[in-house]
């Protein structure tokens, strides 16, 4: 009974291109939490002159890029994804309870998270597959409910054809009604009170290609732009 969808037999965006596209929307002066995986790649594409303050839930406010020289790697300065990082000028260290106070307390302008599924009402699933006895939550539940905006980044369709852009979640939820934008290898979507709005499609794809790869009805604005990635 499971719905299956298909991605078109055309080139889709690479992870790098997805990361690059998302990075365009991280605005100056924002405080942003970056999840593990593609989200971390996105940060690398934020231009240096754009002042985005990165929060890492293990207690780093003002996280910087990995050190350039291997000898500068510090076991005591790792991201939540356990990769070596640096501290930006004006950064600070806090403990875990203070770090999550910041996350839940409304001081994150945006969180960028990976996802298994996003629903048209903004529900997010990213911690557990259906039927599994357990899963990894990490900081995702706290960060997803706390951030003012949540950008989900993921492939549009899973390898086995399970839809990831859906009307209602079939995966166990991480947080309800939190996702504001979705960045995939096929499209950029906004989550609105009326459902998904298709903002941009990847070069070479059609609106129908994207719609066929969703288990949710997409709202089409007067102009659907092409992703500049």
């Amino acid at each position: 009974m499971t719905v299956k969808v298909t991605a078109p037999d055309k080139p889709l965006l690479s992870r790098d291109q997805m990361a690059k596209r998302l990075a365009q929307d991280l605005e100056a002066d924002w405080v942003v939490n970056i999840g593990i995986g593609i989200p971390t790649q996105a940060v690398a594409y934020v231009p240096k002159e754009r002042d985005v303050i990165l929060h890492s839930e293990n207690g780093i406010i003002g996280m910087g890029p990995p050190p350039e020289r291997e000898e500068d790697i510090d076991r005591d300065l790792m991201s939540a994804g356990k990769g070596p990082v640096t501290l930006m000028p004006g950064g600070a260290y806090v403990h875990h309870a203070d770090s999550f106070s910041l996350a839940r307390g409304g001081r994150l302008d945006c969180a960028v998270l990976g996802a298994y599924q996003v629903a048209s009402n903004g529900d997010l699933a990213n911690w557990k597959v259906p039927g599994a006895s357990s899963g990894n939550i990490g900081g995702a539940m706290d960060i997803a409910v706390g951030a003012k905006q949540v950008f989900a980044i993921m492939t549009h369709v899973s390898k086995d054809g399970t839809p990831k852009v859906v009307d209602r979640l079939t995966y166990p939820p991480t947080a309800l009604g939190v996702v504001t934008r979705v960045y995939t290898d096929m499209a950029v979507l906004s989550v609105t009170p009326d459902g998904f709005v298709l903002e941009e499609v990847a070069p070479g794809l059609t609106v129908d290609d994207v719609q066929a790869a969703c288990d949710a009805k997409l709202i089409l604005p007067s102009e659907v732009r092409t992703i500049a990635a």
Binding site: G62, A92, S101, R107
Partner: protein, 221 residues
């Protein structure tokens, strides 16, 4: 980098609005944002709810704020200090409302708000009139009451040093409630003795990270 430094006291205070909840830092003499309070006194603002441990002493600071008619309500733990003449008279005359809150509960309610939480269970006040109207819970055989978060529209705090980004450190016991209020308000304004260059503050020793500071005013004193 976001510009947070106010060019003048007036600019710093200009953010405030009538009928706001304003958290004001300080305990006794230490950590009081004296100039910001003076600024509010001259602002003509009305109907403010002020959160502070005390209700003002003498005729300066919060006492003057009361005399200027800016305050509709005080939330305090210790409102009737011996020198709180202004407040006592206005309270007796029904000109100002009062909510008395245990000091630790007051701090925790603000910390709870700042942490994005919806309340907490505390043993403080169980069996007292502070518990009236509040749900009581028994957890592992001990009684607690449910207290709600206390969020400010604004916080006026006092710090010792600030860097250009807005990171703060405090001085000795002048720290007191200031860092808690900084995290509990929608808009936090810090009165600071000294601005130091970027990276002059040890990132291990920053007490209030810049993300909690929306505006700072340097007094140079």
């Amino acid at each position: 980098m976001k510009k947070k430094k106010a060019a003048s006291l007036e600019e710093a205070i200009s953010h405030l609005r009538d009928e706001s909840i304003v958290l004001i830092g300080g305990f006794g003499y230490g950590g009081v944002p004296e100039q910001l309070i003076e600024g509010v006194c001259s602002s003509g603002l009305r109907g403010l709810t002020i959160v502070n441990n005390n209700a003002g002493t003498g005729h300066t600071g919060i006492a003057r704020l009361l005399e200027e008619g800016c305050v509709g309500k005080m939330i305090c733990s210790f409102p009737f200090a011996s020198e709180s003449h202004v407040f006592k008279e206005m309270y007796a005359a029904g000109k100002v409302d009062l909510e008395v809150v245990p000091q630790g509960t007051m701090a925790e309610r603000m910390r709870n708000a700042g942490a994005g939480l919806g309340g907490f269970l505390t043993p403080t006040g169980v069996g007292t009139e502070i518990a009236e109207g509040k749900p009581e819970f028994e957890v592992d055989g001990k009684k607690y009451i449910l207290e709600k978060p206390l969020r400010g529209d604004f916080a006026l705090i006092k710090a010792y040093k600030v860097d250009p980004r807005g990171n703060l450190i405090y001085r000795k016991a002048a720290r007191n409630i200031n860092p808690v209020m900084a995290m509990a308000a929608d808009f936090t304004i810090a009165e600071v003795s000294e601005e130091v260059p970027m990276d002059a503050l040890d990132p291990e020793a920053i007490v209030t990270p810049s993300v909690y500071v929306d505006c700072f005013y340097v007094t140079g004193g």
